[in-house]
């Protein structure tokens, strides 16, 4: 019972990371594709400015996912990291380059320096979600097993590749939808159109990939395929499909508040659908939630810690997103850091 609850918490944390972190990776994707220094200047300006206050928070979800995994389901954690060793190691390196690239390019002034850090940030934004998606694909297709030998090629399979591509498409869609809405907020209506066109493209790619994934998983991950086409899993698949359609429709007109809601709803439903589809397994047909669960006392405490933390964190996160979307958060400029003539005061 408690194991099921924690499994749901884990699933929701993964969904939160896919949406929060995903938006962030997506912004990096559009940074990568924004073109040369001159042509891409304004999109990049918007990307930097819209992302800066929230990117750390978006990425802390990942740490939370890992912690729930090893505390709540230690066996799952062990198996995933042994079998999916290579993609996860590359994702970790990608995370470092991405974060460092983003943090460092802001204070750097020279164009060459900005290019270097910007390129690192952008390329890592593309690769990291791919590798994380590939690892998730390994779970969904049951390739994560209790093997004792670490594998470097277990992730080279159809489901992993498709999950990786799906991750890129989903992050690109989320990123573009959010940036389009941010463009309104930063009074740059032309960038709204710019990012809405890209969001539509990414959404179309996402839909095509989703259909291909359904076809491929039929043979490659039959248990998940069955779950996705029946019962609760099917319900969430339908919600995700409707969400995609609604987002697409909303993207044809100037951005309001709703396109973000439907986009987040789409990605979250897709993640939840995957989780529901592989019930009652953590790893389809080899490890159930009950088998993989840690000690019950720990799970209860983990649930309790999560509850207490939600009480503390939710108001804080709401405050942050509220302040951010209301334009209350601005980074310090040189003028603020200059201080008029303090050097003479001594």
């Amino acid at each position: 019972m408690i194991a099921g609850v924690i499994a749901v918490v884990l699933l929701l944390a993964v969904a939160a990371y896919a949406c929060g972190g995903g938006t962030d990776y997506g912004a990096g994707f559009w940074d990568l594709t924004a073109g040369g220094a001159e042509r891409g200047r304004r999109p990049r300006w918007l990307i930097d400015h819209a992302m800066a206050p929230v990117w750390e928070v978006n990425n802390v979800w990942l740490i939370f996912v890992l912690v729930i995994m090893w505390t709540g389901f230690p066996v799952l954690f062990q198996q995933v990291f042994v079998t999916m060793w290579l993609p996860l190691a590359l994702a970790a390196v990608g995370t470092v380059l991405r974060g460092a690239g983003f943090a460092l390019r802001k204070p750097v002034r020279r164009l060459a320096g900005r290019r270097l850090y910007g390129a690192l940030f952008a390329v890592a934004s593309l690769l990291t979600p791919f590798f994380l998606g590939a690892a998730a694909g390994g779970v969904a297709s049951g390739r994560v097993t209790s093997t004792t030998t670490a594998s470097t090629d277990a992730w080279a399979n159809p489901t992993s590749l498709l999950f990786g591509l799906l991750a890129i498409a989903a992050t690109a869609s989320l990123g573009a939808v959010f940036l389009a809405a941010d463009a309104r907020r930063f009074a740059a209506p032309d960038l709204d159109g710019y990012f809405r066109r890209r969001a539509l493209g990414a959404l179309a790619a996402l839909a095509v990939l989703a259909v291909i994934t359904l076809v491929v998983t039929h043979g490659d991950a039959p248990y998940v395929w069955h779950g996705l086409t029946h019962g609760v899993g099917l319900f969430f698949v339908v919600v995700a499909a409707l969400g995609t359609a609604a987002t697409g429709w909303l993207l044809t007109r100037p951005s309001g508040a709703w396109s973000r809601v439907t986009a987040v709803g789409t990605v979250a439903s897709a993640i939840v659908a995957w989780g529901m589809a592989q019930r009652p397994y953590l790893v389809p047909t080899s490890l159930t939630v009950a088998e993989g669960a840690g000690a019950h006392t720990t799970l209860r405490w983990l649930g309790f810690v999560t509850l207490v933390a939600l009480v503390l964190v939710i108001p804080a996160v709401v405050l942050l997103y509220w302040l951010d979307t209301h334009g209350e958060l601005e980074s310090l400029t040189d003028a603020d850091l200059r201080g008029a003539g303090t050097g003479d005061e001594g």
Partner: protein, 473 residues
């Protein structure tokens, strides 16, 4: 069943896995003092500036938070790498013990989340939020940092003195008691020793920057204030840390006698143990080099020369650190104590001048030492970490799991390659970080020395931010 594993069975991937973990942790630790204590130091300066309506103090607080922004981001990513490494390098440890000691990380993850939110509000709230609201929203930051440290230290002290479970016939932990697993015997000593170390280190590092400025003749109010606030904080905590450090050493003596033996290179259990200041332990138990002080180790451990101190040979060779590991732990321990003692003298110097003259010291030698105190404290933090980790060998979970049992089955070649990649990435990231800090410093210095408004060239002004946005839109 674990004890059957002999030294010869250590798999080849253990060395690269340990090297990589050591390298990434050692790098991350450099950022931790700033992550834990810089918000507090900045808030003190910020509060002072608000209360006195002091523009210089507010400028310092704003600049420190600009540094915090970059440093926190690097800390986030190097910290994320560590979470990955638990799975990538030590899946055996988390697989068996994750549910026993992982709850601390659960607390830490949420605390960190809260910290990330609060720090974002604080860093980006300077311009638009009302000044009082902005300051008040920043106030919970140090508490969130202390809560995060709580989680990490709970996990680490559990590895030193694991509690809160019983083993079933197959050797798997059952009957988990989360409370006991968090509040293990070493938790209290480790936590306070660590937290105070963070305050001391961050204080000396920040003050060191302005001490260096003082030595180069920049002695205006800006530099005096930037020096005095963090230095006073560090100086107040230094003697506290000395007492806490002495106390934790005695706790190790009682709770992890074999680690204590390694720290003090004690070979045979006996009373009237001599203290070695440095010195190398050899595999036959002899000690070369170093200064030998008769009786002192026993006196320090139990206040009497006839205190019996457990030696390394009290346990089989497979269950204790090797002579080389003991020497490493001993060197690290002695270096930490040495640096700590010097810092106490420095704090005393500061206090005496302050009490007698009510001003900052004027001797350049004071500032020379103070400028080095930051680097020295970081070195002491690294040494403390080496002492506790190397002194625990060969165990990853003291007396319950060996490092060799926890290590991943990934082939050594792959790990060496990954380690090389990580070194390249980290050298690049930390090098860039340092470069960016230096750039910020020189930019601010230019801004402070040029009279009047600085020239508004496109390259000199940040192309980001709504104020300058108009030019691009």
């Amino acid at each position: 069943m674990h004890t059957l594993l002999s030294l010869a069975d250590v798999p080849p991937q253990t060395l690269p896995a340990r090297s990589m973990m050591a390298f990434t942790l050692a790098s991350h630790i450099i950022l931790v003092p700033m992550g834990v204590a810089l918000p507090l130091i900045t808030l003190i300066m910020h509060g002072y500036g608000l209360r006195r309506n002091d523009a210089t103090a507010l400028l310092l607080a704003r600049r420190w938070s600009a540094v915090m922004a970059v440093q926190f981001a690097i800390g986030v990513v190097t910290g994320t790498v560590l979470s990955f490494e638990f799975g990538l390098l030590w899946p055996g440890m988390l697989g068996r013990w994750g549910d026993v000691f992982g709850i601390g990380f659960g607390v830490e993850a949420w605390a960190f989340f809260l910290e990330a939110v609060l720090i974002a509000v604080y860093l980006y709230g300077w311009r638009r939020l009302p000044s009082r609201t902005h300051f008040l929203l920043g106030l919970p930051l140090p508490l969130a940092a202390l809560l995060g440290a709580f989680g990490i230290l709970a996990a680490n002290s559990w590895m030193n003195t694991p509690r809160g479970f019983t083993l079933d016939s197959a050797g798997n932990p059952v009957d988990v008691s989360v409370w006991k697993a968090i509040f293990t015997p070493m938790f209290g000593p480790q936590y306070w020793h660590f937290v105070v170390a963070m305050f001391v280190t961050a204080g000396y590092v920040v003050a060191g920057v302005y001490a260096a400025g003082w030595l180069r003749g920049r002695r205006d109010r800006y530099h005096r204030l930037g020096f005095a606030v963090p230095f006073t904080l560090a100086a107040v905590f230094t003697p506290v840390q000395f007492v806490l450090g002495d106390s934790i050493a005695r706790q190790v003596f009682h709770k992890q006698p074999v680690k204590f033996a390694a720290m003090e290179i004690v070979w045979k259990t006996d009373t009237h143990q001599p203290e070695y200041i440095y010195g190398r332990l050899h595999t036959d138990g002899s000690v070369s080099g170093g200064i030998r002080i008769p009786q002192l180790d026993s006196i320090l451990a139990g206040f009497r020369p006839d205190t019996k101190v457990t030696g390394l040979t009290s346990v089989p060779a497979d269950d204790r650190p090797t002579a080389a590991q003991a020497t490493i732990a001993h060197f690290a321990f002695d270096t930490m104590v040495f640096i700590g003692s010097l810092l106490v003298l420095l704090a005393l110097w500061y206090a005496v001048v302050w009490l007698r003259r009510r001003r900052l010291p004027a001797s350049p030698w004071f500032y020379r030492v103070a400028a080095c105190a930051g680097v020295a404290s970081v070195a002491a933090v690294e040494c403390g970490w080496i002492t506790t980790e190397v002194g625990r060998q060969p165990w990853i979970v003291y007396q319950n799991m060996r490092v060799a049992e926890a290590v991943t089955s990934t082939r050594a070649g792959g790990l060496w390659f990954m380690f090389a990649l990580v070194i390249v990435v980290y050298v690049f990231v930390f090098g860039s970080f340092l470069l960016v800090l230096l750039k910020m410093r020189s930019r601010w210095r230019t801004a402070d020395t040029t009279a009047g408004p600085p020239p508004e060239t496109p390259e000199a002004d940040t192309p980001y931010g709504p104020r300058s946005a108009g030019r691009f839109l």
